[in-house]
């Protein structure tokens, strides 16, 4: 049976009060044509409509194969084993975990039990995060950190309860913990259903088909300001800052909301990848170009931006506006305040125990060395490594090798041919207290 015929399963995790049931009800109401089974371990005060709801006691079993991280969920094996017998198969299964659940055993169930693996495909892990409370929860509970670490999608819910700066900071913290996850902001769990279902997150071949990399981009800019402007020449006014130069992209038609900012950010990542054009003090920055502002002279400096039609303009700056006291002024010298602002990276370092290590390296890998290194790493640190993903360029092999793992379970397979693409390696490890230096060094030793 191939992946298309398997019933997809999404795991919904998140602390009590993060909005799991609200999201569940939203999914069920929007996907009402489908037969969806919901397996619940926690019977909340909010009822679930329409679907077949199965209550199950969360039962975590060790597989007694000597590996303490090989735990599975016995209740799921039983319930799913029964569901798959029915002739009118379900189109989708949603597993809602308790607020305090470790997603590891749930995910591993879909790899450790042959019969379950034959009939069901884990589609993705969606973690709901209560924007108002997650900062305290992360410090206090391992489960909360694990739920963030395992996620393919982090739904940052209840954004109306905190201010934008807090949200930016929180998002940066979450992204530092989990570099693979897509972050979606919302209120009352109002997210498009296609951002949480049918992700094929555990089918790397499928997932990479849609997006060439599983690493969420690390933006080369730290700050975006959106300005509502009428035609005219505007002055970009900067004070002395920490660097003698700074990259900037001016984007026309920039939306001020979360979706618009993200779309703009993706677009600007590509602009930032282009060679920069140096712009001297008092020079003009063209819309859409990668400009490199010369800031070595002391005192306040000006650059200019020409706007030809009424426009919503986004400034994507390499550093935050604060660092250079960046201001936009109209032709009368009046300061124009931004209609929206977004900071893209952490303003200060969080020292979370859970974090991501992303490795990107050109060149080819010796398969024997990689096997030895990865095998040893997962054997020794498998308990603390929650998720692993990789695209590897094996020396002499025309195919890309992709792999992914949950704790010690690792699944590797050839993907598509490299063709004309540059051969390079990408790996992500998400785990607790990982030794970044040792892991990077270990991988580098596998390069040919």
């Amino acid at each position: 049976m191939n992946a298309e015929e398997k019933v997809p399963v999404t795991i919904l995790t998140g602390f009590l009060g993060s909005g799991k049931t609200t999201l569940l009800n939203k999914i069920l109401s929007e996907e009402h044509g489908k037969r969806i089974a919901v397996i619940e371990n926690e019977f909340g005060e909010v009822g679930i409509d329409q679907a077949l709801v199965i209550e199950a006691d969360e039962e975590i079993f060790e597989m007694s194969n000597g590996c303490i991280c090989c735990t599975v969920r016995g209740d799921l094996i039983r319930v799913l084993g029964n569901l798959m017998k029915r002739r009118d198969k379900f189109d989708y299964v949603l597993v809602e975990t308790t607020g305090l659940a470790d997603p590891g055993p749930v995910a591993q169930t879909f790899f450790m039990d042959d019969e379950i693996r034959e009939e069901f495909a884990l589609d993705g892990i969606v973690t709901l995060v209560d924007a108002a409370h997650i900062n305290q929860q992360l410090g206090r509970s391992d489960e909360s950190e694990e739920q963030v670490a395992f996620a393919d999608v982090l739904v940052l819910n209840k954004t109306d309860l905190v201010d934008d700066a807090t949200l930016d900071d929180l998002e940066a913290r979450l992204r530092e913990m989990n570099r693979m996850a897509r972050v979606v902001r919302c209120q009352q769990a109002e997210v498009p259903v296609d951002t949480v279902l049918n992700l094929s997150a555990f089918n790397l071949e499928d997932a990479l088909e849609r997006r060439p990399t599983f690493l969420e981009p690390e933006y080369p800019f730290e700050w975006t300001g959106v300005y509502e402007l009428t035609p005219g020449r505007y002055q970009l006014d900067l004070a002395d800052g920490p660097d003698p130069a700074m990259s900037l992209v001016v984007r026309s038609g920039q939306g001020p909301d979360d979706a618009g900012l993200r779309e703009g950010a993706e677009w600007c990542v590509r602009r930032y990848a282009e060679p920069a054009r140096p712009v001297e003090v008092d020079g003009v920055v063209e819309t859409g170009e990668h400009a490199y502002l010369e800031l070595s002279s002391s005192g306040r400096k000006s650059f200019y931006v020409d706007v030809t039609a009424k426009d919503s303009v986004g400034l994507f700056a390499q550093h935050t506006a604060e660092e250079f006291d960046l201001k936009l002024r109209d032709f009368e010298g009046e300061e124009v305040p931004p209609s929206a602002e977004r900071t893209w990276v952490a303003q200060h370092e969080h020292d979370d125990e859970v974090g991501s290590i992303a490795i990107e390296r050109d060149g080819d890998v010796d398969p024997a060395k990689l096997n030895r290194w990865l095998g040893k790493l997962l054997q020794e640190r498998g308990v603390d490594i929650f998720r692993t993903k990789g695209i590897i360029s094996i020396a002499g092999d025309p195919m890309r090798m992709v792999f992914q793992g949950v704790h010690m379970l690792l699944d590797a397979q050839p993907d598509r041919p490299w063709g004309d693409d540059p051969r390079q390696n990408q790996l992500v490890f998400i785990g607790r207290n990982l030794d970044e230096y040792a892991i990077r060094e270990g991988f580098d030793a596998c390069l040919v």
């Binding site: 007694s64 016995g74 039983r78």
Partner: protein, 343 residues
Amino acid sequence: MTETKVTGVLQSDWSAAIQDYPIASGWTHDGAVLVVCDSAGGLYVFDSQQGELLWSEPCAHEGGALAMSMHPVEAVFATAGQDGKILIWDLTGAHSRCCIEVGSGWVENVLWSPDGARLASSHGREIQIFGVDGAEQWRSDEHLSTVSALGWLNSNELVSTCYGRVTIFDSDTGEPNQRFEWKGSLVSLALSPDGDVIACGSQDNSVHFWRRSTGEDSMMAGYPGKPAALAFDSTGTLLATGGGETVTVWSFEGDGPEGTYPGSLELHERAISTLDFAPDGFRLASGGRDGLVLVWSLHSDGQGRPEGAAMLESVLAKVCWRPDGKSLAALDGDGVVTVWKVS
């Protein structure tokens, strides 16, 4: 319905269709009636001579049936399902004579005691015992996890399995008499007819068994899959086990099976899903995910050869000998009930 290919000792008798995947079945003690229930909650009562459907109930258990048990003496059977109910039925009519509402979760096991005086059931982590009238006699404390299987050693002792533990209860008092521990998820249970050996298949691809008389614990590891099908023959000499494409048969002759090689019955192309020994003699029926039903003639050392075969369209949910051993019923995943005469 497509015609099945049948060879050897199996001779086509009758077949019938039910609505959905068969979950459980049972013959009456006189072999006159076969009852089947399915995953849509349907209940079907067939006359064993011609396969005539005597009566049926399309949705006895909302959500699906999970277990059934034929009363050993009276013309009565019990069913249990996802609706949290146990129903006790008269064979003669489509009305349950007793409905026990156990709770909101699944009732996964239901089993009459050998003397027919009690009905054991499990619901989540709890066991409940009822009389024939449906009145509760006692219930257990919560097990460590959901009860996976129940079995009667004799009319006075009930065995339960769950993750990590086998418990033997006194069926009069509900007091636990004996416990065996094993850190694994026990997924199947078979008891030797003399009540001394308790055999369990474990999620970790092993078969465990405990001897009550000595307290000895043995483990047979190395199965390629989890042994979800187990069966003892009527003398307690042979234990047939699934857990892969091969039927592995352990012989309890002499000092065995510890330290002996088991019999290996290899003809199935996919994992064994169901096993049943004929009421007497070393005759075993096996069914697999490949749709193949085989009847084997075994020796007391566990070795054997096939003496009958039939190919069905779908995975075998259950094979089940009629109490006289002269008929075999097979239930497959397409909802087809096939009955053969066995010479």
